[in-house]
């Protein structure tokens, strides 16, 4: 059982790390600001989400696990809002489509 949980952690964290990699590649390689903004959300939602899911079995109490999920939800909320707001400045400054 323990081995299985550890395996889950390893797989989820590695997948999460991959999405951070994808987010970075997108941020560096995509041609304009709005597409780059789109790359960002992958890291926010999936990268951190998978890391959090992977770490859940390593927590020693339910409250620690809840806190972990809370952190992810907070990042989702503020990350999505920030993206939307950044997109708005892009539209006003004319660099968007």
């Amino acid at each position: 059982m323990n081995l299985l949980l550890d395996l889950w952690t390893v797989v989820a964290v590695i997948t999460g790390a991959f999405f951070f990699f994808a987010g970075t590649v997108g941020l560096l390689r995509f041609p304009d600001s709005l597409t780059r903004l789109h790359a960002l959300s992958k890291a926010d939602n999936l990268g951190l989400g998978l890391v959090v899911l992977g770490l859940l079995p390593q927590m020693d109490s339910v409250s620690a696990g809840l806190k972990l999920v809370c952190i992810w939800l907070l990042v989702l909320l503020s990350g999505a809002t920030a993206s939307q707001w950044i997109a708005r400045t892009l539209r006003h400054s004319g660099s968007g489509p």
């Binding site: 809370c70 907070l74 909320l77 503020s78 809002t81 939307q84 707001w85």
Partner: protein, 313 residues
């Protein structure tokens, strides 16, 4: 592995510090500085200073970033004039030599630090039981070095008075910060409704556990101040006019309670800021509770700046 991480952190921090200095435009430099603050948080974790990491995360990463990025965007138009003013090559070289000399001297000091390192940790541990708090940092802040914390609270209030005193005569007594006109159904208004309830709980939680675990009033107050700021940014609430009596009382309440308890200590325990036997923890808690609203208001209002709008806008 941990060495690789530490070296990477050090290299990144140095790179970002150089960027914050040499970047052409101020907003770009400030973004570098915000990331730099986040990295410092990680470094504090690596140096096993979790309380410091919390403070850096709240102040260095959060509030300072907000303060500097708004200022940088507003002052953008002034920058081009200054670019022509770059000091001569000779001045730059002299500055570089001076900076290198300071760095060299400090590096020699770091390498020549005495072994074993002097430490007060055992003494803190030996005397912590008297204060009845479990977090050594809180014991130092509010018992062993309470004078520093008292003076710090007073410095913060003075800094706010300094900011307020910059108000033009017409706006004195008015509301600080720009008037925010916001759509009540907009995205920011939405976050400003959802995030603060969670943030207030988190802020009070960080404040409350400070007695026994890493956390405390500064970190908690910073989070609360940030939530207040978010509500004001979204236009859901306006900043209070600085002439309000309740506001002024709350601002001085923390330091006043602190001083009062200090004076009581002078009478009952023979030293200013000493706590009578057996009353240490309740008194420490009383000080923390009194300081909490003061710190929240000071930190929030300091970011808003001088009063700009008169009593009748």
């Amino acid at each position: 592995m941990i060495e690789v991480l530490n070296f990477g952190l050090a290299a990144l921090i140095l790179g970002l510090a150089v960027w914050a200095i040499v970047a052409r435009e101020a907003p770009a430099a400030v973004v570098g500085f915000i990331v730099y603050g986040l990295l410092l948080t990680l470094v504090w974790l690596q140096l096993r200073g979790i309380d410091v990491a919390l403070t850096e995360a709240a102040i260095g990463g959060g509030l300072t970033g907000v303060l500097l990025i708004s200022a940088a965007v507003r002052l953008r138009s002034t920058e081009s004039a200054f670019r022509a003013q770059r000091p001569a090559a000779s001045t730059r070289w002299l500055a570089a030599v001076l900076a290198a000399a300071v760095t060299g001297a400090l590096a020699i000091c770091v390498l020549a630090l005495p072994e074993p390192a002097p430490t007060l940790a055992p003494e803190v541990l030996a005397n912590m039981a008297v204060t009845e708090v479990e977090n050594p940092i809180t014991a130092v802040l509010l018992a062993f070095r309470a004078m520093d914390t008292l003076l710090e609270a007073i410095v913060l209030v003075f800094a706010l008075i300094g900011v307020w005193s910059l108000a033009p005569d017409l706006a004195w007594g008015g509301r600080p910060g720009p008037l925010q006109v916001a759509d009540p159904n907009g995205m920011l208004a939405y976050v400003a409704r959802v995030l603060p309830p969670i943030g207030i709980v988190a802020g009070i939680y960080i404040f409350w556990i400070g007695a026994d675990h890493p956390g405390g009033k500064f970190q908690g107050a910073t989070i609360l101040a940030a939530m207040w700021l978010l509500v004001m940014m979204a236009g859901l609430a306006d900043a209070p006019p600085v002439s309000r009596r309740w506001l002024r009382w709350l601002l001085v309440a923390g330091p006043l309670v602190f001083i009062a308890i200090g004076v009581v200590g002078a009478v009952t325990a023979n030293a200013f800021l000493a706590y009578p036997q057996g009353f240490a923890k309740p008194l420490i808690l009383a000080i923390e509770f009194a300081l909490m609203p003061t710190l929240t208001l000071v930190l929030g209002l300091m970011l808003l700046g001088a009063p700009r709008r008169g009593k009748s806008p």
